[in-house]
């Protein structure tokens, strides 16, 4: 009973995610959200409580998005090629039609996480998602004799995770996928260790 909503909550969260993604947390004001989402601020506050909650919910949608990207690792038989594909997908991922939006996880890790424990906890979880997915893939490659057993699978996964953060940050100031792709190839050469 009562008046029915004019918007879909999940749709709003997805689009809010994109706005935070492009402009960052502080620079995306409630007013900005209002106009670009087509929803009155009062409805936003009724639904999500406050800006922080709205952001955290939006960030969860990003986490789901990133997680589905990581699942692509399982679809390629060769471990190194699987990781290469992930990198190439992520490089396209951080490039939007107009300019470079980078990666919401990286942006948030730098801008918001240091001052907000709730956000920091969530970012840590997302980093662990990445690390664990890469770890699993490296282990699989070792079992299949595609990667050397001498590789420290866990630390290599940590290394690759840091590296993803790196090119996300790099992409924000240096447009163009060419350098990113060539640099990614060097990153992958770590997997060729004897």
């Amino acid at each position: 009973m009562g008046r029915q909503r004019k918007f879909d909550e999940e749709d709003i969260l997805f689009r809010a995610m994109e706005l935070f993604w492009i402009r960052g947390y502080e620079a995306t004001s409630i007013q900005h959200l209002e106009t670009h989402l087509g929803v009155g601020k009062r409805s936003l506050y009724n639904t999500f409580g406050n800006k922080e909650n709205l952001f955290i919910e939006a960030l969860k949608r990003y986490q789901a998005l990133a997680l589905s990207g990581l699942q692509g690792l399982d679809e390629t038989e060769n471990a190194k090629q699987a990781i290469r594909d992930l990198y190439l997908r992520r490089i396209e991922f951080v490039a939007s039609k107009d300019g470079w939006r980078g990666c919401l996880m990286t942006n948030t890790a730098v801008e918001l996480a240091p001052h907000n424990p709730r956000v920091a906890k969530q970012i840590k979880a997302m980093l662990k998602d990445t690390e664990n997915a890469l770890f699993k893939t490296i282990r699989r490659g070792q079992n299949n004799r595609q990667l050397s057993a001498n590789l420290d699978a866990r630390m290599t996964a940590v290394f690759l995770t840091q590296n993803v953060l790196g090119f996300n940050a790099f992409a924000k100031v240096s447009p163009g996928t060419r350098n990113l792709k060539r640099s990614a190839e060097i990153t992958l050469s770590v997997l060729d260790a004897p």
Copy 2:
């Protein structure tokens, strides 16, 4: 002639740099600067014009600081060891007494550069500083037969630069130098290519 200043401009810039470093650009308000610098806002505006100019001048001081760190590369004969030392120094660099401040270049690349062309230009210059210093060191290592001639020196330098951004971002959410140091060793293994 006229009334003399109560502060040293260079000293203020250095301390402002530290404040921006810890809290970020937006979160460091003029009021915050006023109290922590011990200088009235009116003096700040008289001297630097506005907040953006003050920040850019402070960022230049950071650039000089980073540049002097890069010069340490020339002080170690072995190229790989020189780069390792740089990494270890930078890992300590991003760790302050109280918590993790990360790297002002990385923080700014993510938070401010995308919306501010002047800042973006300066960040690009700083990245080029890093890349060029690493390139020179890699070349030196190749000339001295310490590193393989098969290494693409330029792209390896780009890779290492991205990697530095990566662990700067990583450090903001994952305190502790241990993981960073171990991951750095994997990064350096790229230089062992045959």
